[in-house]
């Protein structure tokens, strides 16, 4: 569940060596927009989904245009603060328009849990990793099999050469932001029935997804997928066998451990030492 959001960090990192720190808030925007269209206006779900995705791609592009490009061009790391700021603004706008209440997002997959032995789950909870893995596969295909995907990768390898080859770099970066926000939006729609929709829902998801991205390796999509699943498992085992209160301690402790031992992540590429 964190993997999908974490992949968004990887996508923008891979093209531009920048990240959207409002990734978690993009999850929230996805959930809120879907709620507004699906529950608020009562439109059919497929239409609501499409609208949400379009809106999120727009959100991503906007984040890039306002909070990243001005700094990216100057090679300034201020995009870091600027994207965090966008996230906070998004949360406050949501509070003003949507209200601060948590609202229920109806889903047919939440009506009855499937019970196996002494534990059980809602079908919706199964849907999250299934759709997540599927999308991650699609993203990989896009990067490795399509010309545009390869162009995006080229920008990451060597922006100057890519520019000389006729690739529109700002547009490529914008596309990567749109794609990463779109993935977060899908996560938002998938999670809404489980977590309920509220303006505050994004913050912790964004943080944990970032932890996953660090553990898996920012430069490695497969690493992030593995880390996403692993992080979820570690969390639930800690909560189940140790204590719920130890969950966050163990999770973020892992991040520090990885940063110390393998700063490039589990499956990330070790950067060649520059002298």
């Amino acid at each position: 569940m964190y993997g999908l959001v974490a992949l968004g960090y990887h996508i923008t990192w891979a093209t531009s060596r920048t990240m959207n720190f409002s990734q978690g808030h993009a999850v929230m925007v996805g959930a809120v927009v879907a709620y507004a269209v699906f529950v608020g206006l009562g439109w059919p779900f497929p239409l609501a989904l499409v609208l949400t995705l379009v809106a999120l791609a727009g959100f991503g592009a906007l984040v890039e245009r306002v909070a990243v490009r001005p700094f990216f061009l100057r090679a300034s790391p201020a995009w870091l603060l600027a994207t965090i700021a966008v996230g906070i603004i998004a949360e406050n706008v949501a509070q003003l328009t949507f209200g601060k209440d948590a609202r229920a997002f109806p889903s047919p997959l939440m009506r009855k849990p499937i019970i196996l032995g002494s534990a059980g789950f809602y079908p919706q909870e199964l849907l999250v990793p299934v759709v997540g893995l599927l999308l991650m596969g699609l993203v990989q295909l896009f990067y490795h099999r399509t010309a545009y995907g390869k162009q995006l990768k080229a920008v990451a390898w060597n922006p100057e050469a890519a520019g000389l080859m006729g690739i529109n770099i700002p547009r490529a970066v914008m596309a990567s932001y749109a794609l990463s926000a779109l993935l977060a939006g899908v996560a938002g729609v998938l999670l809404a029935p489980l977590l309920n929709v509220s303006p505050q829902m994004g913050t912790i998801i964004g943080l944990k997804a970032f932890a996953v991205a660090i553990i898996g390796g920012l430069s490695s999509a497969p690493g992030i997928v593995v880390a996403g699943l692993g992080y979820g498992l570690v969390e639930s085992f800690t909560a189940g066998y140790v204590s719920t209160r130890a969950r966050e301690i163990v999770g973020f402790g892992l991040v520090i451990l990885v940063l110390v031992v393998r700063p490039w992540g589990l499956l990330g590429e070790k950067p060649s030492r520059r002298v």
Binding site: G99, K100, D101, A102, R103, A104, M110, P113, I115, S118, A119, G120, F121, Y122, L194, L195, N196, S198, Q200, M201, I204, S236, A239, G240, T244, R245
Partner: protein, 392 residues
């Protein structure tokens, strides 16, 4: 002669004018503050309290107000359930708005943070919801904190007796929020179950906004709990029910009243069915005169059609009675001066036939809770509405 009459006219004008200002001064409204969460997951509680206060204020103003003709006026501030905000609001209400008394909201955390402010500024505070035991039993003398609401200590005695006597359960598992309010109830429940030789088989906690309570519930289940005693507000209470259904665990559940606050029914759907919890008042069943009046006002002013549509009923009921008691105290004190009103509250003369009960000398210097477990009722969620359970 003409001159004399002109002088007389001028004199008359001056006298009338002076009388006018005196009258205007005495007619200045008496401000009553409210510090509650009117936004966020518990917004419904704030709205309910506001309605109770406003109905009582309109009723009193309709009969000429207090102190021989001064109208009451409500000043509302949103504390968002945030203790720091609560402290700021407390000062602002007293120092800028010059309120005569302040009513409180749902969050014990906020109420506790505000206690030192009332003590320092010498302004009476009337709790209408937050039930933390040490809000009123705060060790201060003289104590400016009063309450017409539940008190965790009494609630825990009530819940434990209901569990043992009515439900015949002897293996309670406690599931509490990880806050001072949860803490306050852990102490109370342990004490009152312990008095009958019953020990909780497990005590589990969760944080605000936790999405999944399965691990906690699983541990209680494995510990052999035959009853869950829940202390939670609406958003977390909803996740507890979802997790419980996921485990396929059908143990009975009784709850403190936090789950009547937010959009509990919307968040849980069918799962809320049969969850039993405590209230100080219910608008179902036969109503006394006050009950009929309040219901009528709720219908006329807020479009509430039937008792089941009353949102967060305890907030409205507690606030309504609380405001009447404060108004009586102001009249008895003959002033809006904080220390005098506090003293009047502790020595209320006569009786007030209220909504929840008839109050006879409800507060003393030691007892600052007008309601005790003798006044509580047990209710159950049924079809998204709160329905009373007939006791014994």
């Amino acid at each position: 002669m003409r001159r004399l009459s002109r002088m007389f006219t001028i004199l008359l004008a001056v006298v009338l004018g002076a009388a006018g200002t005196v009258l205007a001064q005495s007619k200045e409204p008496v401000k009553i503050g409210l510090s509650a969460a009117v936004s966020g997951g518990s917004a419904a509680s704030g709205e309910a309290i506001k309605r109770g206060l406003q109905i009582a204020i309109d009723e009193i103003n309709g009969k000429g107000g207090v102190l021989g003709g001064r109208k009451l006026e409500l000043v509302i501030r949103d504390d968002e359930g945030n203790p720091q905000k609560g402290v700021t609001i407390a000062r602002e209400l007293v120092e800028r708005e010059k309120v005569a008394a302040v009513f409180g909201g749902l969050h014990t955390t906020v109420a506790l943070a505000q206690v030192p402010v009332w003590q320092e500024l010498k302004v009476p505070y009337m709790g209408t919801w937050a039930a933390g035991t040490n809000v009123t039993r705060n060790g201060q003398t003289p104590n400016y904190v009063f309450r017409v609401s539940a008190n965790d200590d009494y609630v825990d005695r009530f819940l434990s007796r209901y569990a043992m006597d009515a439900l015949k359960k002897g293996k309670p598992g406690l599931l509490l929020e990880n806050t001072p309010w949860g803490q306050s109830n852990e102490v109370g429940l342990t004490k009152w179950f312990g008095e009958k030789g019953v020990k909780a088989v497990g005590v589990e906690r969760f944080n605000w906004n936790d999405p999944d309570m399965s691990p906690q519930l699983l541990r209680l289940k494995n510990a052999g709990a035959d009853l869950i005693v829940l202390v939670a507000n609406a958003p977390e209470g909803a996740q507890v029910l979802r997790s419980k259904s996921k485990l396929g665990w059908d143990a009975a559940m009784i709850s403190h009243w936090g789950i009547s606050g937010g959009r509990f029914a919307e968040l849980t759907g069918d799962l809320s069915e049969g969850v039993t919890f405590l209230q100080t008042y219910t608008f179902f069943g036969k109503q006394n005169e006050r009950g009929q009046y309040v219901l009528k006002m709720l219908r006329d002013k807020y479009g509430v059609k039937e008792p089941g549509d009353v949102i967060a009923p305890v907030g409205t009921a507690n606030a309504y009675d609380g405001l009447h008691l404060v108004a009586i105290a102001i009249d008895q004190a003959g002033s809006t001066d904080g220390p005098k009103v506090r003293e009047a509250l502790e020595n209320l003369k006569g009786e007030y036939k209220g909504l929840i009960k008839t109050y006879k000398h409800p507060f003393t210097a030691e007892q600052h809770d007008a309601l005790t477990d003798e006044d509580y009722v047990m209710v159950v969620w049924k079809g998204g509405k709160i329905v009373p359970i007939s006791m014994k």
